[in-house]
């Protein structure tokens, strides 16, 4: 559309100028062949030099530059990926270590607890055994004492009563009869106490 308008304007302008200025300037300078050869000659020279220098010197440099940048960026991305992988690996390792140490700590704790419990149990068992022994010993002593004391008391009672009778009556009484009496009495006492 734009081009059409421009060309249309151009054509009308051209028509106008050709009629107005035809006599004055001889139409379009472009169609004057005076300098055509010169223009062709200089076009070939300048464009040729431009083409050769661009092809041989400048464009390879630019293309090189672009290639280096591309490869460098790719390289950098690769290294970044690698480093990321490495860091991920390290994170995994670290987590594993933490998990391991946690488990270890737990097992240590359990071990220690068991050891302590064991120790406590052992010590308690030893203590209980000691206590039992002591109690048994004391009980035995007590029972010994009890059984002994009865006889001793009887004996003492018999002796004392024999002495008393001797003092009171002035004669010797058969010690065995006295002992029998004392025994009877202590039995009655025991029975009475038990009742």
């Amino acid at each position: 559309m734009l081009k059409k308008i421009v060309i249309l304007l151009f054509v009308t302008c051209l028509a106008c100028f050709n009629t107005v200025f035809a006599a004055e300037s001889g139409g379009m300078p472009q169609l004057n062949p005076e300098f055509w050869i010169s223009q062709i000659f200089w076009l070939i020279i300048t464009f040729g030099i431009l083409f050769i220098v661009l092809t041989k010197v400048i464009l390879p440099k630019i293309s090189d530059n672009l290639e280096t940048r591309k490869s460098q960026i790719l390289e950098n991305i690769e290294t970044a990926d690698k480093q990321k992988e490495e860091s991920q690996k390290k994170i995994d390792e670290y987590e594993k270590i933490i998990l391991d140490s946690k488990l270890k700590a737990k097992s240590y704790f359990n071990e220690a607890r068991e050891k302590i419990l064991d120790d406590i149990n052992k010590k308690r068992a030893a203590l209980e055994k000691d206590l039992d022994e002591e109690i048994n010993k004391v009980e035995k002593e007590l029972s010994d004492l009890k059984s002994e004391s009865g006889e001793k008391i009887n004996k003492i009672a018999a002796e004392t009563s024999a002495e008393l009778i001797k003092e009171l009556i002035g004669e010797e009484v058969n010690s065995s009869s006295i002992a029998a009496i004392v025994e009877d009495q202590s039995k009655i006492n025991k029975v009475g106490k038990n009742v």
């Binding site: 081009k3 421009v6 060309i7 010169s38 223009q39 464009f47 661009l54």
Partner: protein, 244 residues
């Protein structure tokens, strides 16, 4: 004389007359601007290609973006087979673009507004593409003129039309660029003349129009260089990948 809008297209000799045999090859204002454009391209791109930093500076970015722009244009239109012709199309695009752009500077000469220059470029492209086509496909390149899926009755007509359209390629290619450049510069000159003739009261309208036209012409300068390059790619595509 200077108010003549066509005066700006006059070619005149700069310096002495140089003759090669009986042919006049004097250095003219047209030659001067060809040299300036080429030098500008070489200087800008050489500076852009000199430094090799990972993060490009402005000139480097410019040259690398132009490089990838043209590379993408070629690979999009002509495929990967056109890679050996990259530097030619790059030079062509840059040459036309810089000639067009230098023409936008006031009092500068527009090289591409001369039919002989654009025609020479187009004729070179035409001949080159035809040679490439025949070298790649031999006589099979003539199949280009016989589109597939056309009824036998229409074939003679179609072949004639195809041959005419193929032969008119250099003319259409050169006239498109030349006419666009000349029309734009003529219009700008005409509106510039109106500014003077309408004076301080009425001159503002053509002046603002002139400003707008300058913007449009810069766009056209780029667009025509792009069209010239992309049409070259399309012709090259016809020669390299024969599929009709």
């Amino acid at each position: 004389m200077a108010s003549n809008p066509m005066y700006q297209f006059n070619v005149y000799r700069i310096g002495p007359e140089i003759k090669l045999g009986s042919v006049d090859i004097s250095f003219t204002n047209a030659s001067l601007f060809m040299v300036i454009s080429s030098l500008a391209i070489l200087i800008i791109f050489n500076l852009g290609a000199k430094k090799k930093t990972l993060i490009p500076d402005k000139l480097q970015l410019l040259s690398e973006l132009s490089y990838s722009f043209v590379a993408k244009m070629i690979s999009d239109t002509a495929g990967s087979k056109a890679k050996p012709y990259f530097s030619f199309i790059f030079s062509l695009f840059m040459f036309v673009l810089f000639c067009n752009m230098f023409g936008m500077i006031p009092y500068a000469f527009t090289v591409t507004s001369h039919i002989i220059v654009t025609f020479m470029l187009a004729a070179f492209i035409f001949v080159g593409v035809t040679i490439i086509g025949f070298m790649k496909h031999g006589l099979g390149y003539l199949k280009l003129f016989v589109p597939s899926g056309v009824p036998m009755v229409l074939l003679p007509l179609i072949v004639v039309i195809e041959i005419i359209s193929y032969l008119s390629r250099p003319i259409s290619l050169s006239v498109r660029l030349f006419a666009n450049m000349m029309a734009g510069h003529t219009m700008m000159k005409v509106f510039g003349g109106f500014v003077i003739s309408l004076g301080i009261i009425g001159g503002w309208l053509p002046l603002s129009f002139s400003v707008a036209l300058t913007g449009l012409e810069i766009l056209v300068a780029f667009l025509q260089a792009y069209v010239f390059a992309i049409l070259t790619c399309i012709y090259l595509n016809d020669a390299l990948n024969l599929h009709h």
